[in-house]
């Protein structure tokens, strides 16, 4: 009995908790991708770098706040700085839309041209981020480290295995839930939100109904900026901020969005958690958990790990391939066909 409990604690500690936090980050990222796809109808490859830009501005604000002696301990200062990052990213995205995307939208250009255009934007944003904050690995979580720590948990439960819940993980989850709830409330309950869904659903009829496309697009970019910045900051809080990782996040984020069905917000969330849990579970070494429930003699050699963590991209990729092969429209039918 205690063995099972210990095994469960190990799994919670190394699989469930990290994957939940990571899943929330991916879900926020995938929501941004899926929203742009639904309204503007192209896959935005600059999204990873938008996340990095939002996070970079937030970090600069954190430093400014720290210098001014502002703190909301035990919460990380980054939460206080987040609105600044969102605002800056929203301004950047709306300016980008005016300067770049709008031209192609008016021309009714082929979506693939917009994808190439987004690659150009990606280059510029990537350069901009490096310009602003450099290429160093930055840790900016100055809040309390743990909500539950290993020693405390062991003392309280008397179990051999400890459980640690880092505050960054809880912050991630709470912020993400609040954000997603607000987003769904906005999309389903407000006039502007409904007009966005209508626009995504049937653009011509939306125009006939008097919905202003430029307004819908502007609101979309603002929400995308908020989602991207939040995802970027939460990921950075949980792990660390390194501009290159944000480009690499593009793959799991797109996998999540495609798996859920491009254009479907609910699908993006489900996809985010599916990708995160698969990635963590497949690359986790189960040896320690197995040790608690299996007799010594049965223990296999090695780490009992399906795939080395070096190949975590491969997991998102495999999920993507399986979905593309068997259900190209995604788990939740999106607007892509």
């Amino acid at each position: 009995m205690e063995g099972t409990l210990n095994a469960l604690v190990v799994l919670a500690n190394y699989v469930v908790i990290p994957a939940t936090a990571y899943g929330a980050q991916l879900a926020l990222g995938a929501l941004g991708v899926t929203l742009v796809f639904g309204i503007l109808r192209f896959s935005n490859f600059a999204h990873g770098d938008s996340m990095a830009f939002g996070a970079a501005v937030t970090i600069l604000t954190v430093w400014a706040l720290q210098a001014a002696g502002v703190s909301i301990y035990p919460l990380p200062t980054a939460l206080l700085a987040l609105p600044v990052g969102i605002a800056a990213t929203a301004v950047l995205m709306i300016l980008t839309d005016r300067a770049v995307y709008r031209f192609y939208r008016r021309q009714k250009a082929n979506p693939i041209i917009l994808v190439i255009v987004s690659i150009g934007v990606m280059f510029i944003m990537n350069g901009l981020v490096r310009f602003v904050i450099g290429t160093e690995d930055i840790r900016f979580d100055d809040g309390a480290r743990f909500i539950v720590d290993v020693r405390g948990f062991k003392a309280a439960t008397g179990l051999a295995e400890g459980l640690a819940i880092r505050s960054a993980q809880v912050t991630t989850l709470v912020t993400a839930v609040a954000f997603v709830a607000a987003l769904f409330w906005f999309l389903n309950r407000t006039r502007t939100g409904k007009s966005m869904r209508a626009f995504s659903d049937n653009e011509d009829l939306a125009l006939l109904s008097g919905i202003d496309p430029e307004r819908v697009v502007a609101v979309t970019w603002i929400i995308t900026a908020a989602l991207a910045t939040t995802a970027g900051v939460l990921y950075g809080l949980d792990k660390s901020f390194w501009p290159t990782t944000y480009f690499q996040l593009l793959l799991p984020i797109f996998a999540a969005a495609v798996v859920g069905g491009l254009g479907s917000p609910l699908g993006a969330i489900a996809g985010g958690f599916l990708v995160a849990f698969s990635e963590v579970a497949v690359t986790y070494a189960f040896r320690r958990a197995a040790g608690h429930v299996m007799p010594e003699a049965w223990m296999p050699e090695g780490l009992v790990q399906l795939l080395s963590t070096d190949y975590k991209f491969a997991v998102s990729f495999m999920i993507l391939v399986v979905v593309l092969l068997f259900r190209p429209t995604g788990l939740f039918r999106g607007t892509a066909s």
Binding site: F42, S43, F45, V100, F103, P111, I112, I113, V115, I116, V117, I119, G120, V121, M122, F123, I124, M125, N126, G127, L128, R130, F131, G134, F247, Q248, L250, L251, F254, A255, V258, L262, G302, L306, S308, D310, Y311, F313, A314, S316, F317, L320, V321, L324, L325, P328, A336
Partner: protein
Amino acid sequence: MSRVRLRTPVLFLLVAALIVVTGLAQSWNVALTIVNMGLVSAIVALGLNMQWGYAGLFNIGVMGFLALGGLAVVLVAVPPVAEAWAAGGPRTLAGLALAVAALAGAILLRRRMRPGVARGLATAAVIVLGYVLARAVFVPASEAIERVNPAGTGFLGGLGLPVLVAWPLGGVIAAGAAWLIARVALGLRADYLAIATLGIAEIIVAILKHEDWLTRGVKNVVGIPRPVPYEVDLLSDPAFVARAHLWGTDPVTAASILVKLAYAALFLVVLAILLWMAEKALNSPWGRMMRAIRDNETAAEAMGKDVTRRHLQIFVLGAAVCGIAGAMMTTLDGQLTPGAYQPLRFTFLVWVMVVVGGSGSNWGAVLGGFLIWWLWVMVEPIGAWLLGVVTMPLPASSALKLHLLGSAQHMRLITMGLILLLVLRFAPRGLIPER
């Protein structure tokens, strides 16, 4: 009409002038280095142009195909490590064979059994069992290999053949990988192919970085044999030194320039052959059909063209060209550095080359390869100079000035993005538009 005909040679002359100016202003060594990578870039751009320009296939996994070409160089040219082979060579290969067999078995089951829960379970069981078995054979063997003199070798090495053999082989390996991806992702939306290629490229590079038994991973494989003479050998040759003095040049510079010229000659031959073939293909009925499919897929399908099959063909061909270029790149470097493969530089930069040169135009791709590579190299010094001018009024110790000067290298990315956006907006057909 004559203006259109003149345009191509004039543009090429302009790029040549840029390189000559670089040679005069900096050094011929720098200029020749740019020429050599320019030649390789032109070939990669040619390959991507086949996929995107002829057929409209959105491949953003160029980096992966280049890396496979690099792997081919190691597998071909590096001498075998006998000790490592003895430690676990056959067992490693057996492990891989087991994995492939399991996959083949699963596919066979899917074909033979009737759809249903039983089939799903059976295939899953075969895959899982095969995977576990393959790993059980493979992991200890590869670890044994990696333990053999890890600081010096720790990998199987290659076949010890002449490095030039690796160039076509690089093409073949890349083509094989492309075939696998194409089977899955072709026929789906363009963005899905994009994401799939992006993913496979990341995985290929991850394999190169982490499978030490194969590529030494981030420890790099250095000293790959060359297809051209070594500077040291030239310098120890009295005849060469005497001739250098006769030309009135320093022998060390002469040797390094001669080596670079030799590479340039080799690359030029490959580029000429590929360009000739590409031009022939593009202007043949096959090429016209390809473009017809690109311009109107539905109509082509209605006319009885097997669109997916044609796409598969061109995707594999384009990837093969990228693989050849990847092998040439690694040969030129003389080493395989898996950590150096970055998507911005090895995938998206190639896109800039193709779009700027003119999608669908072979000569455009070649021009774009040279021009954008020259820019990529030169933007940094130009950017540093520019920032130096801009920050002139600031005091030397100003933090902002130091930050800006230190950031000159990031001008590269911004410049490339701007160029891409400007060309897409104001000259969407590129410098040398498709005819």
